[in-house]
Symmetry: C2
Subunit: 189 residues, 2 copies
């Protein structure tokens, strides 16, 4: 199966083996977000996949069927929501490389990240390096700094070590990234 | 054409006559949001329409075609974004009735609105009463109060007069709802 680069399709994960759950970044994030909702800590959710609809059929009065549609290049990020009234937004990616390929983040997504940064929101990337078994939160400030000061096509692992925040894997929540948001908010004050 | 209740389809507006633009709430909001972005006031955008994908074909390597999909009942709202770091979220509806039918807001959307309210976000409805040529912003606090204290199937116009905030139509931006958000933030302090 070939999907357009960087476009995630929900049905892909339908048959995820639950034993492997710990290895799948998206599942870990979804579980963490559910934990935050259940414990009234934060409300962060996944956005729908953007689709361009071309043809719709109406076989019955009650149910329209889309017969032709295409995946659109995402112009925003995967997740957004709020924590203590603050706007939160992020994109989550896994990589098997030893650096983070910037092809993972589309031009319109960079624009989106900039807009959030400029309007005082909390925005970041969550990047899982499978090779190093490490997950980092990279704040938009550092991400935007990197891309505006480099012509490189990927962000080296060392940049994450130096500027990123390690997200530990735990039992509950799986990935407690809110802890790091607390730090970012402290700096913003 | 019959769409499932409350589900908006973007392609519907493809042939909107531009002369009528002032009459279309969605166009007015989109123009206002663009004004806010261009003037670096706020960043508020429309979410993709949620779709359930059943069948995808791969006629070529580069382009996947969705051959069967359905419109999902929306579980969130139309618009979200941020203003001065604050999370903003709203649903926009027009009605030809003399009251606002609650069938316009799905059960999952009510849950979404509650979650935002409880996590300190700014959330509201924008309701245009075509009969009265008036547009109101109704804060989530007042909306949630109404539905928890009433078994009525619609919110009377008088409730909007008493608890809502009138959004004036202007040239730029078309609907300056940020002005009202300033008031809501003042009360929240």
């Amino acid at each position: 199966m070939k999907y357009p680069t960087g476009i995630k399709i929900n049905i892909q994960n339908k048959n995820t083996e639950y034993g492997n759950r710990g290895m799948n970044l998206e599942d870990d994030i979804n579980l963490s977000n559910q934990y935050y909702i259940d414990n009234k800590i934060a409300y962060i959710y996944k956005k729908p996949t953007p689709i361009k609809i071309i043809k719709v059929d109406y076989p019955s009065r009650s149910k329209a069927v889309i017969k032709e549609a295409y995946f659109k290049e995402p112009s925003t990020t995967d997740y957004n929501g709020l924590y203590k009234g603050h706007y939160i937004d992020f994109e989550a990616k896994e990589t098997n490389n030893t650096s983070f390929p910037l092809a993972n983040i589309h031009k319109h997504q960079v624009e989106h990240i900039k807009n959030i940064y400029e309007n005082g929101g909390i925005c970041f990337l969550v990047v899982q390096f499978n090779k190093y078994n490490k997950i980092f939160l990279l704040d938009s400030k550092d991400f935007l700094f990197f891309i505006s000061h480099n012509s490189r096509k990927s962000i080296p692992y060392d940049f994450f070590i130096e500027h990123g925040h390690i997200i530990e894997r735990k039992y509950l929540p799986r990935l407690d990234y809110i802890k790091i948001i607390d730090k970012l908010l402290e700096v913003q004050k």
